[in-house]
């Protein structure tokens, strides 16, 4: 038979890349249906606000026009949503219905490689979705691309947080319908109460600590700072929150989900 005998398995980075590449390959296979929505969604949102809702909000919000305030928030919520869906419904379908992982795990890839590769893919998707929003925002002169070019990196970190969290949730989920609790109970409220739609300083004082506890709040603060160039030392705490969240929740997710892949 042809072909040389393979004595060595690929190095770690290569194994992670293979997993990442698999997801990218399958995702980009339907570029029209997968690639357009990230550009269209912010467009619809901005049209709704610009044409309608915006007329009622004439006050500045934290020194920004409302459409600017909201638009900057969308840079990270889009990363949150794409990553949360990818690593909940997406992961569950690959795991339980399509049995994709059974095939991948027969190749020289460990369960840990597979899970981390999945997180990196979700984070890359977050980067891409953030970038698409940024492109639309800059086309409509809501933010300038030159000022806000770091925003997709915040999108990357945001997506990484939600990838870790969603994979951890997935490790507990027995039927796919359980994700409804996660989305209605956690993700959707976060969209409204993490300073995306209105500043958390407007929340009742008793609720503000809750807003500080959830991940999206820190992404939103960081991305607005990046867009406005308003860097301050306190942002270090937000960045620290994000890094610690990814490390701790990511570790738990790998640990727990591994037991569903190799048992």
């Amino acid at each position: 038979m042809s072909g040389s005998d393979r004595k060595m398995y690929p190095p770690l980075w290569r194994r992670l890349y293979s997993v990442w590449f698999r997801h990218m390959r399958v995702y980009t296979k339907n570029m029209a249906s997968n690639g357009l929505p990230p550009f269209l969604e912010p467009l619809i949102f901005l049209a709704g606000v610009g044409l309608g809702l915006g007329n009622y909000i004439t006050e500045d919000v934290e020194g920004l026009k409302y459409i600017e305030f909201l638009g900057m928030g969308l840079l990270v919520t889009t990363a949150m949503f794409t990553s949360a869906f990818e690593c909940s419904f997406g992961t569950f379908i690959r795991l339980e219905f399509h049995k994709v992982y059974d095939g991948m795990l027969a190749a020289p890839v460990t369960a840990e490689n597979l899970i981390v590769g999945e997180m990196l893919w979700a984070a890359s998707k977050g980067f891409f979705f953030s970038l698409s929003v940024l492109i639309m925002l800059s086309l409509f002169k809501i933010v300038s691309f030159g000022d806000a070019y770091l925003a997709p990196f915040v999108g990357f970190l945001t997506a990484l947080m939600f990838a870790s969290l969603s994979l951890l949730i997935t490790s507990f989920v027995k039927t796919i319908n359980h994700f409804n609790f996660y989305f209605t109970g956690f993700i959707s409220p976060m969209f409204f109460f993490s300073g995306v739609v209105f500043p958390i300083s407007k929340l009742p004082a008793k609720l503000q600590p809750f807003a500080e506890a959830v991940p999206l709040t820190h992404s939103v603060r960081l991305v607005r700072a990046v867009c406005t160039g308003n860097y301050r030392w306190a942002l270090g705490l937000d960045l620290l929150y994000i890094v610690v969240f990814i490390a701790v929740v990511g570790f738990l997710a790998v640990h727990r989900l591994k037991k569903r892949l190799v048992y």
């Binding site: 005998d5 393979r6 004595k7 293979s18 399958v26 296979k29 027969a106 048992y263």
Partner: protein, 309 residues
């Protein structure tokens, strides 16, 4: 060459209270085909999974497992890059076409693109799928999908090929084609480990057959050894219990071994003349007289009735 590719020594695997595999031991010699047979739930798939690292054997069992010189618990990657696995389900990427599916997997093994293309062309040809290289997965028949999964498992030119029920649900033509290809691989030196429910498959392909039941080894040997050691040479199968009732008082019947189930009765003997004499007492169409086969051994070993676990 008598070197062992797989050495399983006294390993167990439990899922909660259920012991799926119980103190199992066997060896697979290089370049041979080893089949695991057993009723559903016997522990065949779990055994396969322990070999290729999808399942981890119980930590508290003191057994050892050696695959290609490595322990799957500590060196799964060393084993994986030298073996190929065909799982029970066809888990192909539906979004991609045939060649893309294979190219994707070549990356997992870090095979250079040019070499991968050559290898894929060879494999599609080998499994008689060359005109399908651009087809979408959903356009393939069940038999083609199965062959594609086998091609995928061969992409790294594995020393060990593991197949979990490779031909279940396929038509006889495809089944024979797959058998032919597996025999060819074996001749080329690939070691094959497989599970099956088809006795004919086990008989044709295997050098060694292991029959498992409720997680334990019941018997092991070459197909012919199993036949010689465990079952009489001939069987008279009587189609309905009533037909047997008519003749069961006859003295000649006491000379043969009788196996009664709800559906039919089987009389076993090494002397075909005895069974022929008994068959004279019956009408044509009420019986078949035939040579005993592996299925008879299997049913004898694992019981005739369904095992509810």
């Amino acid at each position: 060459m008598t070197e062992n590719v797989i050495t399983v020594n006294n390993i167990s695997k439990s899922y909660g209270q259920v012991r799926a595999v119980n103190s199992l031991s066997f060896e697979v010699a290089a370049g041979t085909c080893f089949s695991c047979l057993g009723p559903n739930g016997a522990g065949k798939t779990t055994t396969m999974k322990m070999v290729y690292g999808k399942c981890v054997r119980d930590a508290d069992c003191d057994g050892t497992l050696d695959v290609l010189g490595y322990d799957p618990r500590t060196n799964e990657l060393d084993i994986k890059c030298r073996s190929g696995v065909v799982t029970q389900d066809n888990n192909l990427d539906e979004e991609l076409n045939v060649i893309q599916n294979l190219m994707l997997y070549s990356r997992f093994y870090d095979i250079p693109k040019k070499e991968a293309k050559k290898r894929i062309a060879y494999l599609l040809d080998f499994l008689e799928l060359p005109e399908k290289s651009k087809s979408k997965i959903r356009e393939l028949s069940g038999g083609m999908k199965r062959r594609l999964v086998i091609a995928r498992a061969l992409i790294n030119n594995p020393q060990l090929l593991i197949l979990d029920e490779p031909t279940t649900g396929l038509d006889p033509q495809v089944r024979h084609l797959i058998w032919e290809k597996l025999l060819q691989l074996k001749e080329e030196g690939t070691t094959i480990l497989l599970t099956t429910h088809y006795m004919e498959e086990a008989f044709r392909l295997s050098d060694t057959v292991l029959i498992m039941h409720l997680g334990k080894k019941i018997m092991q040997g070459s197909p012919l050894e199993l036949l010689d050691d465990n079952i009489e040479k001939y069987v008279l199968e009587i189609n309905r219990p009533e037909f047997f009732d008519k003749i069961k008082e006859n003295q000649i019947v006491s000379k043969v071994r009788v196996n009664n189930t709800n559906q039919f009765t089987r009389l076993f003997s090494d002397k075909v003349e005895t069974l022929q004499a008994i068959s004279q007492l019956l009408k044509g169409g009420e019986y078949q007289l035939r040579q005993a086969n592996l299925e008879d051994v299997f049913l004898k070993a694992t019981g005739d009735i369904l095992n509810v676990r």
